[in-house]
Symmetry: C2
């Protein structure tokens, strides 16, 4: 299982609707009013989307508080990651992290160097000395599946190494809005003109729209030119384009979602940490990595599946072995169900 | 101008709604009932699309009359073209043809060999002797912008060369349904198990859905495995997935559209061929390549734009120079407007 959310594969194994803890989506759903916006854009399906996505980029630059000359859009975050990977010589990833970084590098024939996190899932700066000119370091921030964000001071230290080595840094911040507001990398790197840095975000998780496929990001005008050359034309469809011109304006929804997830993360972490036999890791975002102290992932996965709950096995993430699972932070009712089922297993 | 349909770039140069003859879309619009299907699938936007697109492939295999084990889907035809290009050593294209074949090859660092068509835009088989093991020959069928289809006998001859050379053939048939029913390449190559061949089609043109981004195709199970590995996960969004489970069932719409375009193609070709100073080429599909005998493309483009009509300049297609334009076959009212404006220029 390389990705979560593969409900169709497992639906025959449970008589009822599965609760999906394997994908990390805002439980409050998308902003209200989106349906009307989409219906209104049906008439535009008979034309190609704007190949330059001018209005969409206006909306995103307004949301991110950056210049639209820095904005990229793509068919989910993964298309933007892919285009960054195409543009460099060699890819450096950390382990464990999102499998697509390495996968896209292999597909494009780029050598990959994997740097393991420390035991506490922080970055060992000394290990970054392998970085040389033209390399791309990709970091999940927060990282998937570990849930940790890079501390601001360390991020600036890493950026110093990148600039000195004439390398490149991409931060995959697909879960940015779920995190406590310690710093905003876009505001930090705007001051540097996004030189040698790309920051990727997405409507997928926080705006609860995995089906619409809308990723976006910021980079320097020079790198943006290269990335957009690598991208497929019209890769964001008309409805995703329309959604992206709407969802970022709903500030009330954004604030409410942040507060809701913050509260539930604390609740779920607290409840899970009381359960013997599992070790939930600290997290800054809307998913929790859990070490299974007594069972392997397959055993726990199957028990949960028999109860109608889909969790994420983690052995497909490098260096995690067969005794880790990942669960999303969902709404209170479902979070309670997860906790109760954990207690029952034990 | 690398692609047509860039309405936003030109809208400020005409006070009114532009008539788009630069993109070749079914003037009857999408099948009736699609809006209800899309509205019904809004609730699925909070989940990822099925990463394996099982129901979508069922629908397509039923429409194409082939096994679903042969079916590919993608974010427009161009994503599938891209994934084929990634999988081979070298790319061979014909000129003039769709610019993305060469562009994707360059992006992926694949050497490109360009074989010019004969003066009548048919293929010179002798020139295919450059093909060697691992090469990919990509042919538009019908070809864009020339509008010609490969004759069945010649197609089989080319396939013989491909198999003998251990090379690969991709037919880009994005305009297939607009063509008179001389042969169906999918039915021909199904008999060969699609060995070393990929056939690409799309909802974009015939089903009038350029905004939805849905391409599909057929290939051997072996090559399909490789192509799907190269593709981005979830590249077809939930609404495109839902559309593809619906549109192919509307046989009445399909037959009506075919007959309509057939009729209008004959009408428009006939009318244009009566006009002095231009030479419309014969076409098998819903667009017409026109040689300008007295002016360059820029002059004609600007005159039409001042009349509210967007046509396609063709100098971005290799080997066509600056005296060709391409126009779509649209509905009778618009086709008449095009003809009248041509007459007025002269």
């Amino acid at each position: 299982m390389e990705h979560g959310a593969d409900l169709l594969t497992y639906k025959d194994r449970y008589d009822g609707e599965l609760i999906d803890f394997s994908s990390n989506i805002n439980p409050l759903g998308p902003p209200k009013g989106l349906e009307e916006v989409l219906i209104d854009s049906f008439k535009s399906l008979i034309a190609y989307p704007d190949i330059k996505y001018r209005k969409l980029k206006d909306s995103i630059s307004n949301y991110l508080v950056c210049n639209k000359e820095n904005v990229l859009v793509g068919n989910g975050a993964v298309e933007i990651i892919d285009s960054f990977v195409i543009s460099v010589k060699r890819v450096i990833t950390t382990t464990p992290s999102f499998s697509e970084y390495e996968k896209r590098a292999i597909i494009h024939g780029k050598p990959v160097i994997k740097i393991p996190y420390r035991d506490d899932f922080t970055i060992d700066i000394d290990k970054l000395d392998v970085i040389s000119e033209g390399d791309l370091l990709i970091l999940g921030n927060p990282n998937n599946p570990t849930g940790l964000r890079i501390e601001k001071d360390q991020l600036l230290e890493i950026y110093g190494i990148i600039k000195k080595s004439k390398a490149f840094l991409v931060l995959d911040e697909a879960f940015f809005e779920f995190c406590p507001e310690d710093y905003d990398s876009i505001q930090i790197f705007k001051e540097y003109g996004f030189e040698r840095i790309g920051i990727i975000r997405a409507a997928t998780k926080f705006f609860a729209l995995p089906g619409i496929r809308l990723g976006y990001g910021c980079t320097s005008p020079e790198w943006k030119k290269e990335i957009e050359k690598n991208q497929l034309p019209w890769s964001v469809n008309t409805l995703a384009d329309a959604a992206g011109q709407f969802i970022f304006n709903d500030r009330e929804y954004i604030e409410k979602s942040k507060a809701y997830i913050d509260n539930e993360r604390i609740f779920l972490l607290d409840e899970l940490s009381k359960i013997e036999g599992i070790k939930p890791y600290n997290t800054k975002t809307n998913y929790i990595l859990i070490k299974l102290l007594k069972w392997d992932e397959e055993y726990v996965f199957n028990i949960f599946l028999s109860k109608g709950i889909l969790i994420r096995k983690c052995s497909s993430f490098k260096d995690l072995g067969k005794n880790h699972i990942r669960v999303a932070v969902k709404d209170r009712g479902n979070n309670l169900k997860l906790v109760e089922n954990f207690k029952r297993i034990i």
